[in-house]
Amino acid sequence: MFPILEAEFLAPEIKRFVIEAPRVARKRKAGQFVIVRLHERGERIPLTIADGDADRGTITLIVQGVGKTTRLMNLLEAGDSVLDLVGPLGEPSDVRTYGTVVVIGGGVGTAIAWPTARAMKEAGNRVVAIVGARTKELVLLEPELQAIADELEIVTDDGSYGRKGVVVDPLCERIMRGSRIDLVLAIGPVRMMQAVAEMTRPSGIRTIVSLNSLMVDGTGMCGGCRVATKDGTRFACVDGPEFDAHIVDFDVLARRNRTYSACEAQSLKAFQANPKAALDAVRHSCRLDQSHRDESMAEVASR
């Protein structure tokens, strides 16, 4: 059981959690993720470790409510717990001194890119951050990025904040202008990452993406997270989640991510009909776990 110490909304439907997980906090590196299961009947979902504090034994997760599990998680508050949390999983980002690194975050991808962006800055890179969101209130981590980025550009679909357009626009301009770019890190929806990959391909700019494939175990055991690359089949959970954007087949990824769309819609509908019942299930699971623990502690003590 993993207690939630802090929980606050950063934007509508995007919530930041600080969770006690000392072992993960000690080991995690930028680019890694955890797998979370909320309750006894819950599914296992991957979430990037956005930040951590080894001394306090905590990690930070930033969650966008899209389907049942993430929306349910976003109902949790400080004082609640997550039943299972395992990690840190995946290969850490390859943080080196590249020169100028352009970090592109789309939607909640900004949160996923944030730890790597900061590590890149700390490694001595010039960091240009381009952040995209649908609308003003969905722009994530602006102050945090402001603090580390040498340049920060914000783009919204509706033009309510920053410039109007998509994140690929400022990138395109920079490439056209011939600005120096040594590495692009792009994280967001599959189609956004694909667009970035196409943009940097002709000029051969090294481009890294973090792939959001469906996962179950996160340890290389099920093969469900497999991605098609020019170099053959890779598992996102152990070989990634970061990959060279120019070898990834994004169409396959997008199609594989739709595998369970009917089930997901069904789950979401049932959840929305009665979110409280689902929330009770989480709280009940975690209480069970706690009382089970108390019992075994008592047993040990009485021996």
Partner: protein, 485 residues
């Protein structure tokens, strides 16, 4: 002294007692156990068939040397709990091995009765006493030696890790089992389906170990959450046993393998067994909706059989097993093949997939196969399958499961560079002692041998436990370490 007064000739006249089974038509629609277990009368009658050989061949045929003759004799005397504790002297998971061991090639395969008659139903009897014990009060926990002050970390909670834990804790060592998943049991939990091995039985066995003092920590991936070196230097474990199994799925590298609807057996079975996707939407994890669909499973082992029978239970219209040799060469247990056929599984033998075909949405629509014929025997002694040119055909299916075996997961090995591995990535361990090349670290089960059986993994767990005990007692690590094979 034998209490079986029947003369041997009379014993051989008793027919082998049949295992009561759930009707095939009924069971293909549920996940309840297929075999229902012998009754007291059935078990006692079966026990009376035993010839009580002076040198029992069955014991020699058992990888852990369960005292079969002695426990069977206790059954024929009506002492079922005595029989249970007799088995427990050598086997800590009898309710499990009684269900999943390939008895026909081990104990029963060696039974003298089997030369002229049907062999003694050792597996059925083992299962009977284990179930009897569970239902009629346990024999009590085995005696635990006073604490030695030594601590052992076991990585992986499959049969190898569990059996080692059972021994080590009895000898007074403090044992912690680390498991990557959220449930304890390894393949017993996520691989073998409920209809062959009810999960409740695994949980009970695990509980017993917990009561004996074994500590279980789930959600720990050794190599990621913590390394072996950290366990030894920072957490102060005196010895480590690696029992991580062989869980890396093998794919065929065929065109179309990324289509939605193509699964590895591990993923398909994990979704159903561990995540209960068969009970979606009561459980959140989904799995391909097999209802009314045609599905295929590729392979001929226990895993393939489990996957195809699971798909049938999920409501598939037709479930076909595609195997490149003939039924005679299938590595799956005979009983499983028989059960599968009774449940309406179609065997498509002498055929091999060459491609997966899909629609515009990226969903599987068919498997393209080629017919095979048997040629000369290969290294395994089995006649090797040879494709017949021009014989390609398409089998329309909406889901396909690839069940072609598994390999070594590299997570632990890659984070422990000073522990030698062999060519295929399995851990190199001395066959006698199961010591690895890294002092204080032992390895057992599928991660050493490659995919094998529950009982072999348990036997290896016990061998490792014995050498860990010797190492902890003497503090000596024999200089000769295994070299990578």
């Amino acid at each position: 002294m034998s209490r079986n007064t029947l003369p041997p000739k009379e014993r051989t006249k008793i027919p082998r007692q049949a295992m009561p089974e759930q009707e095939a038509e009924l069971r293909r629609h549920n996940f309840a156990e297929v075999n229902q277990g012998l009754t007291v009368l059935g078990a006692t009658t079966e026990a009376l068939r035993c010839l009580e050989c002076a040198k029992p061949a069955c014991v020699a045929g058992c990888p852990v040397g369960v005292k079969i003759r002695d426990f069977v004799e206790l059954i024929s005397a009506g002492d079922y709990l005595g029989a249970a504790s007799k088995i427990r002297e050598d086997n800590v998971l009898p309710a499990i091995t009684g269900r999943v061991c390939p008895q026909e090639t081990q104990c029963e395969g060696c039974c003298i009765l089997g030369k002229k008659f049907e062999p003694l139903g050792v597996g059925y009897l083992e299962r009977f006493v284990a179930d009897y014990e569970r239902e009629h009060g346990m024999v009590g926990l085995p005696e635990i030696a006073p604490p030695t002050g030594k601590r052992v970390a076991i990585i992986g909670s499959g049969p190898a890790g569990l059996s080692a834990a059972g021994d080590l804790v009895r000898w007074g060592h403090a044992v912690t089992v680390f498991e990557a998943l959220h449930e304890i049991g390894g393949v017993l939990m996520y691989g073998i389906p409920e209809f062959r091995l009810p999960k409740e039985i695994v949980r009970q066995e695990v509980n017993t170990l917990g009561q004996m003092g074994v500590e279980f920590q789930t959600n720990v991936v050794v190599g990621k959450t913590v390394t072996i070196d950290e366990l030894m230097t920072e957490d102060g474990y005196d010895a480590v046993l690696v029992a991580t199994g062989a869980g890396l799925p093998k794919f065929m590298d065929l065109p179309g393998e990324h289509l939605s609807g193509v699964y590895s057996a591990n993923e398909f079975l994990t979704r159903v067994n561990l995540m209960h996707a068969n009970d979606f939407p009561n459980f959140d994890e989904p799995v391909f909706d097999c209802r009314g669909q045609d599905i295929a499973v590729i392979g001929g082992g226990n895993t393939a059989m489990d996957a195809v029978r699971t798909a049938a239970r999920l409501g598939a219209r037709t479930s076909t097993l595609i195997y490149r040799r003939t039924e005679a060469e299938m590595p799956a247990r005979v009983e499983e093949v028989r059960h599968a056929k009774q449940e309406g599984i179609d065997l498509l033998t002498l055929a091999n997939p060459v491609a997966f075909l899909g629609d515009d949405e990226g969903r599987l629509t068919a498997v393209r196969c080629i017919r095979m014929e048997l040629g000369e025997p290969d290294d395994s002694g089995r006649r090797s399958p040879v494709p017949i040119a021009g014989s390609e055909f398409e089998l329309p299916v909406a889901m396909a499961v690839v069940a072609l075996g598994t390999g070594a997961n590299p997570l632990v090995q890659s984070s422990t560079p000073d522990m030698a591995t062999n060519r295929k990535g399995y851990i190199a361990a001395d066959p006698e002692t199961l010591r690895t090349s890294k002092p204080g670290v032992f390895a057992a089960g599928d991660i050493v041998t490659g995919g094998a059986t529950v009982i072999l993994a348990m036997a290896a767990g016990r061998t490792a436990a014995a050498s860990i005990r010797a190492y902890l007692d003497t503090g000596r690590w024999n200089e000769e370490s295994p070299s990578p094979a």
